[in-house]
């Protein structure tokens, strides 16, 4: 099992993803954004950061990096692609995931641990029981997920909403629990097929107990289990 972690100019969480996946016993290697050969990787991760300085819009320029044409091809062939934070923003800009990211409602960069409910979804990247509440840090300025009503209805109908922000006890506050104002408290969505997944929280930061928890582990182990099952 080999993860490929793409480095765009301005990415800054690629080392965390490499370390987290290796900590879990998997192979993982960097992929430079200028590369056009991603063969040999079983799963691709677009890490967090500030690709191209967030100029124009977050992810808007990275989406045209040479490697992205290959990532799109890989995703369309069913290959697993995970976008974390800026990676999620890049996936929406690349139209691999629906919606777009607006600036956080309170205009503040938010960096804190949040509670998230795992939804009953078609996502291939997460086999945690639906309804479970996990704690994972967020770290962003543009995480205010938005899509139109029609898209939201489709996301619900197709079970594409993977994670929602909740209160610590798993409930939803009146008026919503998203710290950034995200529509319908959405923290993570996948495509219809479930192989492309984007989320604003950083699961790679809670893989090693040393850094404050292990709730992020299933975000990397689930896909490995799944690929092993498919291969059998």
């Amino acid at each position: 099992m080999r993860f490929g972690v793409v480095i765009f100019p301005g990415s800054n969480c690629e080392q965390d993803v490499i370390r987290a996946t290796r900590f879990l016993g998997f192979e993982s290697e960097y992929i430079w954004h200028g590369d056009t050969d991603i063969s040999g990787f079983d799963a691709i991760v677009l890490p967090g950061g500030f690709s191209y300085g967030d100029y124009i819009r977050t992810g808007a320029v990275a989406r045209f990096s040479p490697v992205m044409a290959e990532v799109v091809r890989f995703a369309e062939a069913g290959g697993p692609v995970l976008g974390i934070c800026n990676g999620f923003q890049i996936l929406t800009e690349a139209h691999l995931l629906p919606g777009a990211m607006l600036r956080n409602r309170g205009l503040k960069f938010i960096c804190k641990s949040v509670a998230l409910r795992v939804e009953d979804s078609v996502c291939q990247w997460l086999d945690t029981a639906p309804g479970s509440v996990v704690r994972i840090p967020i770290n962003h300025n543009e995480g205010n997920f938005y899509c139109d009503d029609e898209t939201l209805a489709r996301l619900d109908a197709n079970r594409q909403v993977v994670l929602r922000y909740v209160e610590a006890d798993g409930s939803t506050a009146p008026g919503g629990s998203a710290p950034n104002g995200a529509l319908d408290d959405i923290a993570g969505v996948c495509n219809e097929r479930g192989n492309v997944f984007g989320l604003m929280p950083h699961p790679e930061r809670v893989v090693d107990p040393l850094t404050g928890g292990t709730d992020g582990q299933p975000f990397f182990t689930s896909i490995v289990r799944r690929l092993a099952e498919v291969a059998r």
Binding site: R57, A60, V61, L102, L107, N144, Y146
Partner: protein, 78 residues
Amino acid sequence: MARYEIYVTYKQGIFDPPGATAERALVNLGYSGVESVKIGKFIRLEADADLATVAEMCQKLLANPVIEDYRIEIVGEA
């Protein structure tokens, strides 16, 4: 070479956090007549390209059609 001015704004109905903040701040400063503030982007582009091509640039990169509208004005020769 033509000179274009492009205005990129959030689509109708999309909450604009900086606009809403500016709106509240103006009201707090005593400008009680302020009803709405929307903040967008202004792009000045000089290019050997026709209007259709500039529209394509907006669709592809300069604006995100999921959340933003754009308006292109031709302001003359560069």
